[in-house]
Symmetry: C2
């Protein structure tokens, strides 16, 4: 893996990540395919949308279809018929969300499957090994993500174990086609963020994620700690803010110096009738759209916006038709892909601050 930083505009960065399965122009948004599928969307759709890299989940793939099946079928890319880069998260976030169904120790975490109650164990080593066996382009280190608000002791303990596990994960890493990223924790505590970043940067990993945000704090706290943490990371390495996917949060993240993002938001919102546009969000189920002949977003040139009307999508959602979630998920992903593409152009052209301000304060409203 290589990362070329082409230029900066303020803290915003324009780069290219070269991975085993292709290049990723940054800043980039990664659509989420939790169970080896971006919900309702094919790989051909993703290419058409302009997705350069997608994210999938270690926790879910570990449980189903499982490592043996994925390896027998030639790895994750071949399994899901996606030939561009894939990043998998470490499963730490999902396991710690299980709460009563997991038991943590210094060596790893034992948990019960949410599917069938069966017992499994993650260690820093087997989580890296699993992701390597799947053949993904970027693997994430097993970390400990604390929900906010949290006490200083709890956050400090999560930083301690996250570093311990990062050292062990790094030692287990094969350094082949799969790049390994560390995840900085530390909650809303600058001292702990500094400690976590310092200890992980010492491992000289190919890239670093900012974890432990978008987990209960305010939007302002998230933006502030994103900027604070990004500044602690090496300039020459990619920075990934986990779990962020609204227009405002993406703009704030880029403005804080982040290169990569992922979030279920665009597809989850799409399944529930919520349209993401450059001039705000709205719900297509609202009565006003029943005879609205405009596209979902008049400023969007995606397949959905060049083919269908709001009236038709309103009908699909009111009729609970499968095509509604499919089309609105497609549009929402295309909207974020276009936002990131335009952001890259703005940074390259030295007009990031104007782009940022316009994106945060659109001249027209959505409806």
């Amino acid at each position: 893996m290589t990362f070329a930083l082409h230029g900066v505009d303020g803290a915003a960065r324009r780069g290219t990540l070269t991975l085993a399965h292709g290049n990723v122009e940054t800043p980039a948004f990664m659509p989420v395919g939790t169970a080896a599928t971006v919900k309702g969307i094919t790989p051909a759709d993703l290419r058409e949308i302009g997705a350069q890299i997608i994210l999938s989940n270690t926790y879910h793939l570990w449980l189903r279809p499982g490592r043996e099946t994925l390896v027998a079928l030639g790895g994750l890319h071949r399994f899901m018929a996606w030939d561009r880069p894939i990043l998998t998260d470490s499963g730490g976030f999902q396991v710690f969300s299980l709460e009563s169904r997991r038991k943590l120790d210094d060596d790893g975490v034992t948990f019960q499957s949410h599917l069938d109650g069966s017992t499994h164990r993650f260690t820093p080593e087997n989580v890296v090994g699993f992701q390597e066996a799947l053949g993904v382009d970027i693997a994430m280190m097993l970390d400990i993500c604390v929900k906010l608000p949290a006490g200083t002791d709890e956050v400090a303990e999560s930083v301690r174990r996250t570093t311990l596990w990062a050292r062990r994960g790094t030692a287990a890493w094969q350094r082949g086609a799969t790049a390994l990223f560390g995840i900085v924790q530390g909650g809303l505590d600058e001292r702990l963020r500094e400690q976590s970043a310092r200890e992980l940067v010492a491992l000289d990993l190919p890239g670093y994620a900012i974890g432990g945000l978008s987990v209960g704090e305010s939007r302002e706290e998230m933006a502030g700690f994103t900027r604070f943490t990004a500044a602690l990371l090496p300039v020459a390495k990619p920075r990934y803010l986990m779990g962020v996917g609204t227009v405002r949060d993406l703009i704030a993240g880029i403005d804080g110096g982040v290169d990569m993002f992922d979030c279920v938001y665009p597809t989850r919102a799409g399944r529930h009738g919520r349209a993401i546009t450059r001039s705000g969000e709205y719900n297509i189920r609202n009565a006003g759209y029943v005879r609205d002949e405009r596209p979902v977003d008049p400023q969007c040139s995606c397949m959905v916006c060049t083919t269908f009307t709001r009236a038709y999508l309103a009908h699909l959602f009111r009729s609970e038709e499968l095509l509604g979630p499919r089309l609105l998920s497609y549009h929402n992903l295309a909207a974020l892909a276009a936002l990131m593409s335009d952001a890259r152009d703005a940074i390259a052209a030295g007009r990031w601050s104007a782009f940022r301000d316009a994106a945060l304060n659109p001249a027209v409203t959505a409806s």
Copy 2:
């Protein structure tokens, strides 16, 4: 509308239907888009699959989004972004399925919406007018479809009213871009089938459907009455067998002299994990497919079969992922489109009986 009959092979027919929105090579299968959408499938998918004409439902469109909205939005083609031919059924079948929520008289039928209980009335005239207002290529006459088994008196009464309504519908028909088809009823009674066909043929409509089959009778009874009824219809006009969509029934229908078919079967089966192949059907959820690297149907060249494995589809269905129903619906429609295309070639080449026998007795089984 014109219909050119290019040739016959036994009772099987090869023709071309020329409609306001394009040509339909027959025999043809029409995917069903009940609520102005073939479930989970876009118009672009339908074109890729090779669908030449689709079916939508008067009953459902009448209730939602309703005539005024559809007219305001430029008609059904524009509403759903499908520019090839559309046939709408008359809604008779759905209304009579309501049973306790409808009241029939000689002038029409009053019914309660299954959506909100609101009261509506269908007459032979307003059902033709509705379909013409939507701008469809083929409208169906309001008829009375009797579930089987049924007594002779009930079937005779349905034939009497179906003829009465066909005369009134024909008188109301504007004879513009929308062709109007009559529907032959008569259950499993040859005398009543003859009466119904004779009375409707006298109206000199552009085409005729065989109704009142695929409603509870045996497969042999359906095939026999299809053949019997088709032979009562004008050679020079298209014949449409309503509600038929399995490989065996399509082959039997073509063999009996039918040109057009529709059924929810391929999409409904697809949503439930049932794969239609040239060598039989199977359920993709079965344990044997979890690591099966073959495509859904090794004999199929559709997008799904050239992209994904059975193992991946098995995973999608086991994970209850939206993409599973989408992909298997796509394949099932493509499978029937390819079957019909091959059937047309076989009839044109004078090898229909060999094709028919091979289709009914495939050399290899699906799994």
